[in-house]
Amino acid sequence: MTTTTAGAAAKGGERINLLKVLGPAHIWGLGVGIVLVGEYMGWNFSVGKGGALASLIACWVIGLLYTCVAMIDSEVTSTVAAAGGQYAQAKHIIGPLMAFNVALYLVMAYTMLEAGNAFVAGDLMKTVAGQLGHENLDSRPFVFLVIAFLAWLNYRGVFMTLTFNFIITAIAFVAIVVLFVTTSPWVPGVAVAHKEFLTGLPYGWIGVIAALQFGMWYYLGIEGTCQAAEECRSAGRSIPLGTITGMVTLIIAASLTWYVAAGLMPWEYLGQAYTPLYDAATIYGNTPLQVFLFIGTLFSTLASANGCINDASRAWFSMGRDRYMPQWFGAVHPRYRTPFRAIVFLIPIALVAAYKLPLDGVITFSILAGLLGYTFMSFNVVRFRKQWPLGTIKRGYIHPFHPLPAVVLFILCIAVYFATFLGYADYLISILVFFIIASFWFAWHRYKFVRRGDQFTMPWPRPKGL
């Protein structure tokens, strides 16, 4: 298509939108794909904070937090089917400043998580090279390769990207199930020995609170499913189905992971291991299982980084489309129908984070940005139900027991802020300062570029009370 014809087409009403090709399986692959790496590594730092039992309690408590997130998100997203997910929700339900902040939470959470995953994938390559006799492999080119390849995949089309994610995520999940079955957990003493390794709560109940922060790793990122809403064939069906089945999958994976790892390793070791599931397979002494778990670990990091690129780019694209950021970022590729400029723009940011920031810092920033988003969801849904009560707009899913999930979510978010404050107060304060400065910048400088009438796109009736 030439410039002239394309221009004429745009003026004549032709539009390029994101491609609507995704189904529930892609949504499952996106949500579980982002998170599953947390079962392979990271969750076990909660063991270091308060012992294995504290980690199990954190697994369940944070599981409750994320169940609330999944239910709330599914309902709101089934009505606001737009790229940007929670950003679009905030824009319609709360207002522009909240939306801007939520979009920044999303971009930061997913880009930092992507950087962390690429770093771990590079480090895995280094470990394997070391085990095969090549010491001091430079992991940087492999970090670059992970980010560049996955960005390229995302650039070329969402269907291929999330089909790839579904496949490698399913393999990584099967690896956890195979590890569980192989260690014959139904016969205590054969491999797992919980009687020996479970030593109560070494730091008491404050250890349980402290464990909540890393308990987030069991599920961090499942809410990313709603970023794909605009690309679903039927968002009202695919988002709730993909998200809720994803949450069930993660609760199963988290429980199996905890059971096997806590039964094979003492908490003092488990609490500081980098690849606990791979270590569990190594301790069990089964080479094919060890290889399978290595593949699972690598695939889970790739799936997570891939999903993060997808989600961060949609959030950035949405801000560009509404002129919250330069409109140039709101472009859709005419052939691949992807937000191609947003995808390319975020590559150097992810690379800098992967090369220059410490891994625990990257992950803590990601957790905190996610947590700020969850806190927003708790009051967002209350306002949503108040302004548009049931029956006033079409909903693909209605979450039960409202407002209980919102209240529980808010209380659990406060508990996790406290847990984070115990270990990473400086990170918590610096991220809050960053968002306050960004908010001032948006309100005083950027918002004048926004076309105020254009940003509210949902054909909803006037909200109650306004």
Binding site: M1, T3, G7, N17, A82, P141, F149, A151, E230, P459
Partner: protein, 59 residues
């Protein structure tokens, strides 16, 4: 130089090619297509379409 050194160079090379390909394609698309068309996507296009067909309007 062993296979791991070759892998390091290959990873740098492939990454560079992929990034350059994306940048070249991005520049080509920018030059070949009208900016208004590239920026023409609309949030919630389905819902708008549903509403406009119900009211008989064009979006």
């Amino acid at each position: 130089m062993d296979i791991w050194n070759i892998a390091e160079y290959a990873a740098w090379g492939i990454s560079g090619v992929l990034v350059l390909w994306m940048i070249a394609d991005m520049v080509r698309v920018g030059a070949e297509y009208d900016e208004a068309l590239l920026l023409s996507s609309r949030e919630g296009a389905d819902e708008l379409l549903e509403q406009s067909s119900a009211t008989g309007e064009r979006t």
